[in-house]
Assembly symmetry: C2
């Protein structure tokens, strides 16, 4: 070990029985930075909860501030009515990075990055934290948007239930690279490799009620440009 090893300390979460990755543990990771990166790159999470022994999995938007995940919605939704009762929840974010095409049907796979979070959600009552969470939702949809739009009114803040989940019981799982075929199959004359996939923005569609001469805002210009460069 040289001195640089001492600097590169891993900031890993402690594993628990729930987050311990049992299948293909070499794909698992508990590094806080990796977990945050995956959460920030995703747009939709899948929230799992239980009502009378029945599991529900509901897609929803989210935001992250530091070591906390935030979700929100109407207090009337089944999901939020359930989660506000401080039940166990599992939130999963999955980014699909590519199709893994092997020489055998059996070894076809996908490249992905995913995060699984366990915990109990809490209602955000503090007005400042609630506003920060709403800012995080908007900025998570598209960075730079918050300063372009009309901010929430007190009535809108009151009508929104915001829940938060600590990011201290979470794991990441990542698959990258080419297929892993059986040794004998590498001799077969079959193309194998990865077909990378990226979520790409198309041409923005203005609201039909906009004045015709209105320019695209900075947030949309930068988002389209940034993703175009990432896929080039």
């Amino acid at each position: 070990m040289n001195s640089s090893d001492l600097v590169i300390q891993s900031d890993s979460l402690a594993t628990t029985q729930r987050t311990q990755i049992k299948r293909l543990p070499q794909r698992g990771d508990y590094d806080r930075t990796l977990i945050h990166q995956i959460l920030d790159a995703g747009l939709v999470c899948h929230v799992g909860f239980v009502v009378e022994a029945q599991p529900f999995v509901i897609p929803t938007a989210y935001g992250r501030v530091g070591d906390r995940l935030y979700i929100h919605g109407s207090p009337a939704s089944r999901m939020l009515r359930t989660l506000r009762e401080s039940v166990e929840v599992c939130v999963t974010v999955t980014l699909l990075d590519g199709l893994v095409l092997a020489r055998s049907a059996f070894h076809h796979s996908m490249n992905y990055r995913s995060v699984v979070i366990f915990g109990k959600a809490e209602i955000v009552e503090d007005a400042t934290e609630k506003l920060e969470a709403l800012k995080a939702f908007t900025e998570h949809v598209i960075p730079g948007r918050w300063v372009e739009v009309r901010p929430p009114t007190p009535q809108e803040l009151a009508a929104t239930l915001v829940l938060t989940l600590p990011l201290n019981e979470a794991s990441a799982k990542v698959r990258t690279g080419p297929p892993k075929d059986d040794a004998a199959d590498y001799e077969l004359p079959i193309w194998a490799g990865e077909l990378p996939l990226r979520l790409t923005p198309l041409v923005p569609v203005p609201d039909p009620q906009l004045p015709p001469d209105m320019q695209l805002p900075t947030s949309v210009q930068q988002y389209s440009q940034g993703l175009a460069e990432a896929t080039a």
Copy 2:
């Protein structure tokens, strides 16, 4: 009602207490064709199940054959060990179609298509059905691939646990179109609209162990071409 109304019969699934869409029911749908289209367009599902009152949400690949969804994996995985015990499961597929940018922070949203399925998974024991399911997995990753690759051996078939879920208790939820702002906000000089998103293939990456002169297979050529046209 004229005679054409009699022809266009909707093939809808019966709603149950679990699939009844309570939030924004105008976005809900139980049409079998729509549900199948969304499932066929997706690549990853999120499987929700309960172990000792704890919900788990795990991303996995899937395939569809008629009115049945198939998932598969190692018999050693926690998910498949749980599901094979015929417990209640919830499987959700979400396609993100666009960012919905409103004039107000509050009305930001996403355009999406999602399907939520409830039921109990069953083990596929029949060898013919199991092979059909494995074909469906491969063809679902990329159409036309099954005939290009080495088919499963009896050993591989035996090592794969295939589970099936009937598609008779399912619902779809779809949001399309521009933002829905408050009436007064339409006067604000703020750009609003949709930024459509598509999962787009990049340049295929050949397996490093391929001979250098090997051509791309038909499946990859058609996939890249088809998606490029869809996003043009």
